[in-house]
Symmetry: C2
DNA sequence: GGAAGTGTAAAACGATCACTTTACTTGCGC
DNA sequence: GCGCAAGTAAAGTGATCGTTTTACACTTCC
């Protein structure tokens, strides 16, 4: 495997499992099997490494949602993500809070990711009910954000609760659309 | 103000705003206006200080929800909390993840807090619809958890979206209760 | 066959980490 | 007025932080 790829995926795991600040450069170099000099040649600094990790994670996460055209598929993909990657809350929000919102690269990566997620949910809602519905999309976003964090302490079964709640909201929006 | 109280509230603010690991003992002692010797006499260690901070935060948070007997009041209290204390995601989940789930005192404080929150929501749901409804309570919990984290990047106005979604779910549960 | 590029190991950088210790002051009770 | 509890400032503990540097090995390409 490519050195850079190995470094980034190692860093993502360590940051996710032990936190950004608590993960030292020695654990990163040792984990990736490279020297510190090579690490700095490739990514420049710890903050830059985190920014790269976040962008890569965003790409992988969005790819896992790429084919979803219904809330069933949305929460199905989310459940699969939790099984594959674990559920410890949103990494973007966590490192954003951990760095106090003081690192511009991280603030931007977080903002970009959340905007894309919101956009993706908007598309899924539109595919589901046939028209745009900002209010409904925002509510589904809340359920997605909720299950992302609740799954950390209530387990992956919570995904089913979120799905059923989302179905109810969609059903409500459909009948409301018919009656109005 | 009492030294211990001052220390704990200072620590809560610093941990919340800058993260647990990133907050050094010098910032804590300086912020509370005490010597490091006094800090260690009072709380023993940084981890113990965090555990005390979390318990205190739990008490204050649950007190802010104590009078709520409807989802309107629940999300009203939540919105007020975000205005007063800021919205940077759940501190319990953040420090739990930051410490990799390795510190027993923190795992326990987090678990206790989430169990109490879940219990409180169950009571509110029961007061609202007249009977227990685990599924509905779990869905409201997801909305609460969702708005706690979404408010960090979408602003406090998201509370209204959560409230309207919760009302819909309650309405659905009521009509379902009548029809079945 | 020499230059350039890419990697290594390991030492050093000053700063900061959580925490302890030493030496000294202050206020209160008996 | 003596002792004791509770506070201070400040130095010191060894470890670890992110980052840079030095010295050297291995390809690859002209």
């Amino acid at each position: 495997m490519d050195i850079r790829t190995r470094l980034i995926s190692t860093a993502e795991q360590l940051f996710d499992r032990h936190g950004f600040t608590a993960t030292g450069m020695d654990r990163l170099t040792h984990g990736a099997g490279i020297s510190s000099r090579t690490l700095y040649k490739h990514v420049g600094s710890k903050n830059r490494l985190l920014a790269i990790v976040l962008d890569e994670r965003d790409r992988r996460f969005m790819r896992s949602l790429a084919s979803a055209v219904s809330v069933d598929e949305l929460f199905g993909a989310l459940g699969a993500w939790f099984v594959d990657e674990g559920a410890r809350g949103c990494l973007f929000l966590r490192v954003w809070a951990e760095t106090g919102g003081d690192v511009p690269e991280i603030v931007e990566a977080m903002t970009r990711h959340k905007a894309r997620l919101r956009q993706r949910i908007e598309e899924i809602v539109e595919a589901e009910i046939g028209c745009r519905d900002d209010e409904l999309a925002e509510a589904i976003l809340l359920l997605v954000e909720g299950v992302t964090h609740a799954a950390a302490y209530r387990g992956s079964a919570t995904v089913d609760v979120a799905l059923r709640a989302a179905r109810r909201l969609i059903e409500g929006a459909r009948t409301q659309g018919l009656s109005s």
